[in-house]
């Protein structure tokens, strides 16, 4: 408080000015002048006060009206949004080969041969040993559910993501080129297969080693997410499949592990299902090297070591410009270059 007292003998410049303004307050005012001013002010003030309740009422009506309009808009949006954004109605299952079983909650329904049915999120589709079924998803993806297989529609939201859960058997998937923000994945108990290409097969049945998932890519590129890491599988490659299918080794191996131990080994994890002639072995070695370079780039990228990632991608593109991973490498390289140029120097 003492700070507010003028202890100094010399009054500050601001105190002089403030004192002047304090003295400016009129102590008395000419009564005639004041009365005349009040007479001028009064009519407007009275009108303002009298119209107050009506004004407040109008304001309340406007407020409630706005609130009602907002609520109505929200209700319409909620009603419309499933139609616009959750295009479950576009999700159809076609029994093109024979009957299949549809499980919806606790209800079961048999869809007969040649019939099509609408599917909803969390529906399950089970095919018998004699025939399969075809699913058409809102993005245009086509899923061939093979015989003795079970699939659940895990998440479906057109324009953003589609996820199927493979409960048993196998599915063959054909995904068209996805737009930005679109996402398609097949979940199994052990992994998640995310689409980066167009055509692949996921099997948790015969072709997979028990407890694993077999992924075979016919066209494009897919990412297999396991608990430990991400494995990229390109055209003609498979991951986690039995050797009877691959006709090479007995056990499926994870690519990164195998490559880390034997970077140049021809029998890499991303094996092709072909015989072991020398030319094919060279091809396998080449694929393993491509995969190794791609993995190295990804590792750098994850650590945000942009220079290392760029170097690895560039080496991959230089040595294997026509490789299945080249397209993805080019995309990632462009992103890294943008990142580097955007960073402040």
């Amino acid at each position: 408080m003492s700070e507010l007292m003028n202890t100094d003998a010399e009054v500050g410049i601001e105190q002089q000015a403030l004192e002047l303004m304090r003295r400016e307050r009129p102590q008395f005012e000419d009564e005639v002048r004041a009365t005349a001013r009040r007479a001028r002010l009064m009519p407007d003030l009275i009108q303002y006060v009298e119209s107050g309740p009506k004004r407040r009422q109008q304001r309340a009506v406007t407020l409630y009206g706005s609130g009602f309009a907002l609520a109505a808009a929200a209700a319409v949006a909620l009603w419309v949004s499933p139609t616009l954004f959750n295009s479950e109605s576009n999700l159809t299952a076609l029994s093109n080969q024979g009957d299949f079983l549809l499980l919806r909650g606790e209800q079961q329904e048999t869809v007969h041969a040649g019939a099509a049915t609408q599917l909803h999120e969390l529906d399950q589709l089970r095919t018998p040993a004699t025939n399969g079924a075809t699913l058409t998803l809102p993005t245009g993806s086509n899923v061939q559910v093979n015989e003795s297989s079970a699939v659940q529609i895990a998440q479906i939201n057109a324009g953003s993501y589609e996820t199927l859960r493979l409960l048993g058997g196998s599915v063959k998937v054909h995904v068209p080129k996805l737009k930005t923000g679109e996402y398609f994945a097949v979940l199994t108990d052990t992994s998640k297969v995310v689409v980066h290409g167009t055509r692949f097969t996921v099997d948790v049945g015969q072709r997979a080693t028990p407890g694993t998932t077999c992924v075979m890519v016919d066209e494009g590129l897919v990412a297999v997410h396991t608990a430990e890491q991400v494995h990229w599988v390109g055209v003609g490659e498979n991951w986690g499949c039995k050797t009877s299918e691959a006709k090479l080794d007995d056990a499926p191996t994870a690519p990164a592990v195998a490559e880390a131990e034997q970077p140049e080994a021809p029998a890499g994890a991303t094996q092709r299902n072909v015989g072991s002639t020398s030319s094919e072995q060279r091809e396998i070695a080449s694929l393993a090297e491509q995969n190794r370079l791609f993995q190295r780039a990804l590792t750098h990228q994850r650590r945000e070591e942009w220079a290392g990632a760029r170097e690895a991608y560039e080496e991959l593109l230089k040595r294997y410009p026509g490789a299945p991973l080249a397209a993805e490498a080019r995309v990632q390289l462009r992103k890294i270059r943008d990142k580097i140029s955007a960073e402040p120097r």
């Binding site: 403030l18 001013r37 002010l41 407007d44 006060v49």
Partner: protein, 217 residues
């Protein structure tokens, strides 16, 4: 005049006390209730109760013969009505004090607006209020000097942060104590004190700058 000792034959009559002949003064609560109900009598009572304070505060800050005095009085009265009706007036002080606070805020807003206008239009022909209403006492030189100081102070107040300007206004110009300033501006006493001290420091700096500028000219 009745001569002493003489008796008047006129009968005695009951005379109303002087107070009773005057119009009844409304209390703050009555005015508030009346304003909320939209009674015109409440508007009259409010005007009588607070208009002198509003007028005095506006005159003090903006000058005694300000060109917009009546309009600003009207605006301040309407703001008082709004604050009362919308329950922004919490009843922590009298209606008169509250009206004073509203008038001081309005005066500060007006000072800022005028400063902005001068800056934008670059037509600073001097503060009109500084040319009038000189104090009655003192030599002409002294009066001119006082008006220059007042003009500089108005300009400086317009440049202060609103919270600081308000605190200085309430404490140093309108004479409220710190507790009142804190209550009226809805801050702690320490915050009010800080605003006053910093506001004064800032005023000092601005006024010195103005004086130095004038000396250089």
């Amino acid at each position: 005049m009745i001569p002493s000792g003489a008796k008047s034959n006129a009968p005695l009559r009951l005379v109303q006390p002087v107070e009773a002949t005057r119009p009844r003064r409304w209390g703050d609560l009555e005015i508030i209730e009346g304003l909320r109900a939209g009674q015109s009598a409440a508007a009259v009572a409010l005007c009588e109760a607070v208009e002198p304070a509003i007028s005095a505060t506006l005159s003090q800050v903006l000058g005694r013969s300000d060109r917009d005095h009546d309009d600003l009085c009207q605006t301040a009265l309407m703001r008082v009505v709004d604050s009362v009706v919308n329950s922004r007036f919490a009843g922590r002080c009298t209606l008169r004090t509250w009206a004073n606070v509203i008038a001081s805020r309005l005066a500060l807003d007006e000072l800022r607006r005028r400063r902005r206008e001068r800056t934008v239009l670059d037509s600073d022909s001097g503060d009109e209020t500084s040319q009038v209403a000189a104090p009655a006492s003192g030599s002409p030189e002294r009066r001119v000097s006082d008006q220059q100081q007042l003009s500089a102070l108005r300009d400086a107040l317009a440049q202060l942060r609103p919270a600081r300007a308000q605190a200085v206004m309430l404490f140093d110009i309108l004479g409220h104590d710190l507790e009142e300033v804190a209550r009226l501006t809805n801050v702690s006493v320490a915050a009010a004190q800080s605003s006053v001290v910093r506001g004064r420091q800032e005023l000092r700096r601005l006024l010195r700058k103005t004086r130095e500028g004038a000396d250089n000219v």
